[in-house]
Symmetry: C2
Subunit: 260 residues, 2 copies
C-alpha cells in the first residue's frame, strides 16, 4: 500500500479523539474495488469479496493467513472508506441498542470491549506486514504492542464515550498477556479510553486455553461479581461465541486474522 | 431491474439441475457496484455495502424491509455474479467439512437444510417485488410458493448431491406451513432434490413460535430419534442459532429479508 494511503488513514484517525462528530472524510485515493486484486484486475478462481463474506459470517474458520492474491483487496478495504463505514454500521446498531436500555443505576451494568481491532487499531502494523498475508510473527508483533502506539478505532471510541455518558461501566477483555498490562493501559489512556472498570488480560492460568474459553470464563467471573454484561463487542467471533456472551453481541469487521 | 438481467439469471439457473459442474458464467451486464444506488451513484448517509455487512453478520437484527435507497444495490447483488460467488464460498467450506467427516454408516448422520433462499430460490418473486424493499405480503407470496416454480440455488444443489454421494441423510426444515407440503415437496423434486429423509414443516402446534424456537425444537426431536445433526445450513441466523444447532453451521447470503 502506498505511504500516502496510510498517512491519510492515520490523518483521519487523528481527528477523532477530540470527540468531534464532524470527522471529515478525506478523498479516497484508492476507492474499494470489489472482487479485485492489484489494479482492480479479477483474481482467478477466488473472489476476495466472497472470501471476506465467508470470514465475516464465520463460514470460513480456523484460517491462518489472508490469501496472497487478496493482499491488495484487503489493503484497499482496510485503508479505504469501507472498513470505517462497516465499523460505523455496527457501532450505530450498538448505540441504538445501548440507548434503548434502562440501566439499573447500581454501577453493575457493563459493556465488554475487546481491544485489538476493536478499541485499538493495529493497522499501522499490518500495513507493513501484508494486511494478514504474512504469517503471524510473535516477536515483531509484540514489539509493536509494547510500543503502545496503536491508534483508537474512531467508531469504537465514539461508542465508548456515549456509553460512559449513559453510565455504563466499561470492561476491556483482551487476549493480550498480563506482561503487556502497562503498555496496554497506557496506550488505551493515551488515545482517549481514560475511564475503565476493569482491564482483563490473560494470566498464567489462562495460557493454552482458546480465546473462546478464556473469554467465556472471564465473563462468567464478571457475572459472579454481580455485573450484568449488557453489550459485548469484538472483531473476532471468539469474542462473542461461547458462554455468558452477554445480552447482545456486536461483530466488528476484521479480514486480517482469525483467533479461535 | 431489467428483464434481460432476470432472464440471464434464470438462464444460469436452468443449466444447473442436470448436474453439470461446468456452469458457464454469463457475461454480467450489471457488474456489482459497491456502495451505490441507481446507476452507481453514492447513497447519501447510507452505505448499502455496510448495510449488507451489518445484516449478514447479525449486527443489524429485527429489520422489516431493505432500505429503499438500497433496492438497486441489492438487485445488482442478487442478479449479478456476487451472490452466486458468495454462496459458492459458503458451499465450498461446507463441502470440505462434510468430506472431512467419517460417517457412522448407520443412516443417522444428517445434514439439515432450510428451504427458502437456501435450497430453493425465490429470486424470480423478489425481482418483481423490490428485492425486499416492499413489505411482506402473505397473499401474493403464498400464491408464488403454491405455484411450486422456485428454481434451485445452484450451489446448494451441488452440495446436496455431494452429500448424498457421501451417504448423508438430508432433512429439509422449513418455516413453511404444513398446508404447503405438497407444493413444496413437488417443487423440491422437480428441481433436483429427489431424495430426502424428512421434510419438516410448521404444524398447527408451531404457529406463533419464532423460527429460532420452532427449528430448535425440530432439531431436538431429530436428536431424540437418534439422528446426529452434523451440518446445518440456512440463509437466516434463525436457522443456525438457538439450541441443538448441529456440529457445524453454515450461513448463506440473504440481504432481502429477516426472520427471527
Amino acid at each position: 500500500m502506498g505511504l500516502l494511503s496510510l498517512l491519510l488513514f492515520l490523518g483521519t484517525l487523528a481527528v477523532s479523539p477530540n470527540g468531534s462528530q464532524e470527522v471529515e472524510v478525506l478523498h479516497q485515493i484508492h476507492p474499494l474495488r470489489p472482487q479485485s486484486g492489484s489494479a482492480g484486475t479479477p483474481v482467478r478462481g477466488l473472489s476476495c469479496l466472497s472470501w471476506r463474506f465467508g470470514v465475516e459470517t464465520h463460514n470460513i474458520i480456523d484460517w491462518k493467513t489472508v490469501p496472497q492474491s487478496c493482499e491488495n483487496y484487503i489493503g484497499h478495504y482496510m485503508l479505504g472508506d469501507q472498513y470505517r463505514e462497516d465499523s460505523k454500521a455496527v457501532v450505530d446498531q450498538a448505540l441504538s441498542y445501548a440507548q434503548s436500555l434502562k440501566l439499573a443505576g447500581d454501577g453493575k451494568d457493563v459493556w465488554v470491549f475487546d481491544i485489538d481491532e476493536t478499541t485499538l487499531s493495529n493497522l499501522p502494523y499490518y500495513a507493513h506486514h501484508g494486511f494478514g498475508v504474512e504469517p503471524y510473527n510473535a516477536t515483531i508483533y509484540n514489539k509493536w504492542v509494547n510500543e503502545g502506539e496503536a491508534p483508537a478505532l474512531p467508531e469504537s471510541l465514539r461508542l465508548y464515550k456515549k456509553l460512559l455518558s449513559l453510565k455504563f461501566k466499561v470492561v476491556f477483555l483482551t487476549g493480550r498477556p498480563e506482561s503487556q498490562r502497562n503498555a496496554t493501559a497506557n496506550n488505551l489512556k493515551k488515545v482517549g479510553y481514560h475511564t475503565l472498570e476493569k482491564l482483563l488480560l490473560r494470566g498464567s492460568a489462562d495460557i493454552g486455553t482458546t480465546a473462546v474459553t478464556y473469554k467465556s470464563n472471564q465473563r462468567e467471573n464478571l457475572e459472579k461479581e454481580g455485573y450484568r454484561v449488557l453489550g459485548n463487542m469484538g472483531d473476532q467471533w471468539s469474542d462473542i461465541l461461547g458462554t455468558h456472551i452477554g445480552n447482545r453481541t456486536f461483530k466488528l469487521p476484521d479480514p486480517m486474522y482469525y483467533i479461535s
